[in-house]
């Protein structure tokens, strides 16, 4: 018996921007979201997808630009021509509003747009019941899962929802809209939960609860491969497969342990090892933000050569579409702890930094003396936040000290 293949995607954010921190990728970034949508169609065609679940934030805004609307119309027509049924559960970015884009969207054959009340779609020819609910505002605070109607008898239940799981939100910038608990999902009657909202593709419960992630990262804050999931159903048995589709992949690497890297080639090797690798069938371009800081033998190189030239060479060597290189934090390859033992001004300065890191009272004194001169943004922070900020600034300040003061071996010329 052949598997029934379902495509699960979310957070397409059509009409939303994709950052172009390197002007070289401006064109690529401008077209990336539409390209990822085209790839979803290509994947559907290749895999003979019968059902498409779009778990919210299809549009970046409740009133999307016309180009985004046209792009989705074209995609829906393509899916309809393939014979695939498309189910959409609007999210917080594109909530279902009266008179909004979803409320006025023509309900054609093979398309189901869930409303805020929660609906189900019976697909007897597939033996499936698909349930979903839409966000009715940009900041839904209630759990929407109870609104989903239970599957009909004899049907395998699939749920599609834009929702927040507390565990999945950790470490992300996503706000906890439509919060729910994992237990609510796994204890319910649905065999599979197709979720959206968190842009990182992952499976809170393997083969049962899946966040599709976004098909295209928007900026360096959304690094790594992005794409969609293929869900293979054989009866109630579920198999999942993540397919990286994003044509433009952001990568954000920051190294502050560069002492072992003595040559640019070693740096290139390390970066190459940490870059995401593209699936052969879905080629992608990589835009990398590379932060280099701390003591490094490469410091000399950066002192001698034009940083722009170095960045260009690095970009070419790594085959990157874009590169944002932040190497201002590089400093001479020295051990600050050892230098702190020196009796001169440098040693005393590094010693004071060590003391600020270890002595809360000293840091507090420092904060008190600095408070008036800090940047207004810092001044607006609470005292505790300012202390934390100062503590965090000690490391870059240390690199600046070594950059500025050290003129001995490995330092800049006197």
């Amino acid at each position: 018996m052949a598997s029934l293949i379902v495509l699960h995607a979310a957070d397409l954010h059509l009409g939303g921007p994709v950052a172009a921190p390197d002007p070289a990728i401006a064109s690529l970034a401008a077209n990336a979201r539409n390209e990822s949508l085209d790839r979803l169609l290509t994947l559907s065609r290749q895999e003979n997808v019968r059902l498409v679940l779009l778990a919210g934030d299809v549009f970046h805004a409740a009133q999307p630009p016309l180009t985004a609307v046209l792009a989705l119309q074209k995609a829906l027509a393509a899916w309809r021509d393939m014979g695939a049924v498309v189910c959409i559960a609007p999210g917080n970015h594109d909530p279902w509003l009266p008179g909004g884009v979803w409320a006025s969207w023509p309900q054609g054959e093979g398309l189901k747009i869930f409303d805020p009340q929660g609906n189900g779609l019976d697909l007897p020819e597939l033996g499936l019941w698909v349930a979903g609910a839409a966000h009715q505002s940009a900041a839904v605070q209630e759990d929407l899962t109870p609104r989903l109607p239970a599957p009909l008898a004899g049907r395998v239940g699939l749920a599609v929802l834009h929702a927040s799981l507390e565990r999945s939100l950790a470490g992300t910038s996503h706000l906890p809209y439509a919060p729910t608990r994992l237990e609510s999902l796994t204890s319910g009657p649905f065999a599979f939960w197709a979720l959206g909202h968190v842009h990182i593709p992952h499976e809170p419960v393997p083969r049962r609860v899946v966040y599709a992630g976004c098909p295209q990262g928007a900026h360096f804050g959304e690094p790594g491969p992005r794409g969609a999931w293929l869900i293979r159903l054989q009866g109630a048995a579920v198999e999942t497969e993540f397919v990286p589709l994003a044509p433009l992949v952001f990568a954000d690497l920051a190294y502050d342990d560069l002492m072992p890297l003595a040559t640019p080639a070693q740096l290139v090797e390390r970066v190459r090892g940490d870059l995401p690798s593209a699936a052969p069938a879905w080629p992608c371009q990589v835009c990398l933000r590379l932060g280099l800081s701390g003591p490094s033998p490469l410091w000399r190189l950066w002192q001698r050569q034009d940083p722009a030239e170095l960045a260009a060479a690095l970009k070419k060597e790594l085959g990157l579409a874009g590169l944002v290189l932040a190497a201002e934090g590089l400093c001479p390859p020295l051990d600050p702890a050892a230098l702190a033992q020196r009796p001169d001004v440098l040693g005393r300065l590094l010693g004071l930094m060590q003391r600020a890191e270890q002595d809360e009272d000293f840091l507090a004194e420092l904060e008190a003396s600095l408070a008036a001169g800090l940047h207004p943004d810092s001044q607006r922070l609470s005292r505790a936040e300012r202390l934390a900020r100062l503590r965090g600034l000690l490391t870059p300040a240390r690199w600046r000290v070594l950059q500025g003061l050290w003129q001995g071996e490995g330092g800049h010329a006197a």
Binding site: G15, G16, P17, A19, P21, H60, A61, Q63, P65, L66, T67, G99, S104, A218, H219, P343, D344, V345, L346, R348, L349, G351, L352, M353, A356, L366, S369, L370, G373, L374, H375, P376, D377, S378, R389, L390, L393, L394, P396, A397, R400, V401, G404, L405, W406, Q407, G408, G411, A414
Partner: protein, 883 residues
Amino acid sequence: MRLERLAIGGFGRLPAGLELSLAPGLNLVLAANERGKTTLSEFIVGLFYGFGPRKDGVHPYQPWAGGESTGGEAAYALADGRRFTLRRHLGKGPEQLFLLDEQGRRLDLAGVQPGELHLGLGQGAFLTVSRIRLEDLQQAVYAAGGETKELKATRQWLAGYFFLEAATRGQVANPVSVRQAWQQEREGLYSPDRRKGKAGAALTEQVKAARDALAQAQAREEQARQLEAQGRDLAGQQAQLEAQREAARQDLQAARQAQEQAQGLARRDQLAADIAALEQQGLATEAAELKARELERESAAADGRAAQARQAAAQARKQAQEQIGDREPEALGQELDGLAQRLAELKAQARHLQDQGLRIERRAQALSQQWGLAPAGLANLAADLPYGLQGLRQAAAQSRQEAAQAEQELATLPPPPPSLVWRLGLALIALVGGLKLTIWAAFALMPWWFMALGGVLILGGIGLGVGWLLRHQQAKQIRRQRSDLDARSQRAREQAQAQEAELTARLAPLPPAVQQADPAALAAARAEALGLEQERAAWQQDQQATHDQEARLRASLTFLGLKSGDEPEQMLATARRRTGQAAQALAEAARLDQQAQAEQAKAQELRAELDQHLASLDLPDLPGLAQARERAKRVEQLRAARDELQKSLGPNAGAALDPEAAARRLQECQAREAELSRQIRELVAQQAALVKEIEHLNQAQTAAQAQAALDQLGERQQALAQLHDTLLLAETLLEMAMEEFRLEAQPSLLQKAGQYLALATGGAYDWLGTDLFHAQPNKEPALSARRGPGEAERPAEILSRGTRDQLYLCLRLALAQEMTAGHEPLPLILDDPLVNFDDERLAAALDLLCALAQERQVLLLTCHQHQAELIQGLCDCRMLEID
């Protein structure tokens, strides 16, 4: 650097032409007030750093004694032994400056002052370190009358120099410079001072612009939403109008149907009237028309066939005439039979002649093969040829035989003997010698045997002579015989050759068989050839006669127009064939004439039948029949149209309908439908304009993009704030480290100053502190002193004037000592700085100067006699006179 000589060209109070020769150690200028001590120190500084600008066109140090030039020169030596001469003059024109080396070559200063070049110090630093005056002794750093910029530069240089050289030994950058760089960078990022913080301000402006762009984008999107709502309203209105238009179209359709029914009834009545009118004019059926057309067609066909037969008969007669002309075929056949008989006789005669010619030809060929000559050639041979040839051959053979016989006789004849002339000479010699010997013996009475010998010689000579003569006669006879034989042989050969040539000439034109033939056979053959040629001539005459007869027969046949080149048999056969064809053509023509008469009669019968048929239809002629038929067809069409119309009107048709009312109703419906269509078009146009406007709005930056740009700027602002705070933190900690270093790790400068202070104060103070590297750049550093470890620091302000002078003097001396350690030692120019010292500390200070003079040149300028006496008692000192 040590000054060796100073020459005043004219400088303020100093007398022009004054020359001072300085000692390498301590030099003392003792002069009263207003004598030029301070002017001398200014002169030295001015030589190395410039005399400064004029004021109101007059230089402050213009010579008091007059003269246009201000300046002079100095000779000095550096620590490495190099010596230089420095000349500087300030006249009415630009300042003239010359730096000469020991060889008097002018050196290129490249825009720097000699002091900067050879002392490594700027003017401010030089004034701080090298020249110490009472009036600025209260300052740790020379301020040059409060010139903040100069003071700041000197302070910065001093501080940097201190940390660089004295504190960090070159491994750490100048922390003051670093701190200032950080401060500048930080203030460039953000500063409450609006004149600074341009990067932050620019970023703030960008953020503001981005917020404006976001607001504009949001406004555009709101506008787009409103336009979309308008578009939806318009779509609703359009739907309503389209529904109304659909109803109007249905009304229009009904009105159009009513009008069509009324028009149909009127049309039906009109058709019935038309049918009746046509029926009254008379109609004809298709069968009647077909019959009439058939009769007409058949009669016309019979006429045509009769004409064709007549035409064919005429054609046949024409063909017969072309074949045989006007002759009768029967008579012409008889004439051809006679010609055929004559032709047969000629053919028989020709065959006989042909056989005869063949026989003659065979006999001629036999003769030709036998003799190699045609019979005519053979007959033409001369009658005496066969026997003449035979005689020539026999004569030639006889001549050849005679020549051979003569040659044989010549071969048997002996050759003539040789001449042997020497025998004749020997005979003459013997004869003459015998005679001479005989005579000589006779007259000389020689012995007899001489006479005998002479006689023998004579005899011998005679004998030899006779023998030679006989031999000569024999040879002459033999040569004559040989000559005769040669001539005879030659004549015989020439005769034979002539005969053979004649024979060859006669035989050359003859074939070999004739050449070798027997004369009798050849004569017989010639006779046969003559007979054969006579037979050939007779045969040819008979042949010609036959040809003539044939030509006459051929001429007889050409009257039929046959080709004269054809064979007579062929011509005769052609004539016979033409005669036959002409007979057939004439017979066919007679038959066709009969056929034409028959067809003509048939045509007349058919025309009579057609007239009878038209009369039965009551029609005058065929055109009338055609018109009646057309009317019948038109009636059928009208009936079909009437039936179709009746069918479309329905079985209940016939009710009275007003076509005009139906037309008015139709016009009303059309107008309403047109009005609704116009309104819909306007709505569509409005919607298209809205869509275009929305597209235009969507083409601009979206709110999301604007928000992204704003977020990006926010990130940059955060990064800027972080960098600002990082620099502030680093700057603050560096400042703390520098203060800590200053307080806890007393630099060697202050240690040295403390040592000097202990010497100068007789041990009253042994520690000196300063905020030289900490104070604000535009503020004079503060000094403090301490009596010993653990004692309180005493600010200089609370100390006595004398002690303060000692404090500052020691700091300046220590500065000079520290900063020039390992470098070019600077001379110390002390302009009466010791006036506030008490005797004890004055002695201590002068003692200190004596000690310093061991290391560097010291020029002490004072107006106090006791200082001069005191120092002269302490160490070697060169007194310099400036009056």
